[in-house]
Symmetry: C2
Subunit: 200 residues, 2 copies
Amino acid sequence: NVGVARAEIKQGVREVNMMKNAKEKKIGIALKAVDKGIFVAFVWQDSPAAMAGLRFGDQVLAINDEPVAGWSSDKALKAIKKAPDAHVKLAVRDRPFERTVTVVKDSENHIGFLFKKGTITHLVKDTSAARNGLLINHQLIEINGQNIVGLKDEDVLKIIQESPRSVTITIMPKFIYDHMIKSIGFGSLKKYMDHGIPEI
Amino acid sequence: NVGVARAEIKQGVREVNMMKNAKEKKIGIALKAVDKGIFVAFVWQDSPAAMAGLRFGDQVLAINDEPVAGWSSDKALKAIKKAPDAHVKLAVRDRPFERTVTVVKDSENHIGFLFKKGTITHLVKDTSAARNGLLINHQLIEINGQNIVGLKDEDVLKIIQESPRSVTITIMPKFIYDHMIKSIGFGSLKKYMDHGIPEI
């Protein structure tokens, strides 16, 4: 199943190497400090970060070999600015606050839950979503691995409707999501969010 | 690594079959409704549930084939009481709110973080815990797969000290943990909590 593979949250730590883009000398992410960790709270579309496969919710453990535990988001961003243009190396843990649930749409193409501003609000009885243990008060982050943060509910619904019957949902507790997007000027940024379909 | 294997959170849904114990006609769990899901909030030591490998944090999806999404904890408990003594079948998702981080103790046998009442409160700079992205405001649930919920901090520390150098920690955001143990009379129950070492 391609959606499952694109959504898979991998164990362990990976290394991500990027060059800053030529014009703005940026890799294209916003960072947010949560519980003494540094998290990717925004990935700019077509940026070096998007190209390198960084995702909303990834935890950055080190920037050019310097561990970032306990840093503020400002300090982490400065470390990236200070890094050589041709060599930004991040150690990354794959979306630790997220998990995936695979559900099957019914014969009428319904997904089995309702959502508002991306937050799951109701489970529909006798659907695969309810049987598979999907939970309310959780935020939709990806559909079949494709980030949908910042998209309108109607656009998310369209992606779900056009998905194969088996749909893999990536979710995060809403209170963590709210914290992660707080204070990064998300409102103005979200139209630039990377919504590309990940390579596998 | 045995600790990693014992702690591993498995994907998918498993079926757990139990008989109630002869004396009290119980399987030995407490349940808690969270976000329209039903979760195992307590496992009685030496109970049928402990023997069958149920763990704190497991999500119960169905009781004798009846889906439980949206049920209250009382309703779920009643369904177990109503089930035949010789045949309690649960569909279970493995600890969805938890994740594992493996850290290595330093040469002085230190783990690299401080905790109070099981909640991680500080990360120590330049330790494997900090480098591996452990987070504060998270609750310790298991050490090398062994449940430590309800144990005193000094007893948890002893388990960590006696562990091999590589220690796998299972954690859950503290606000979810607090919610899960709320209102189940946990204070009086915790001395009966199953702290057995899981089979692999």
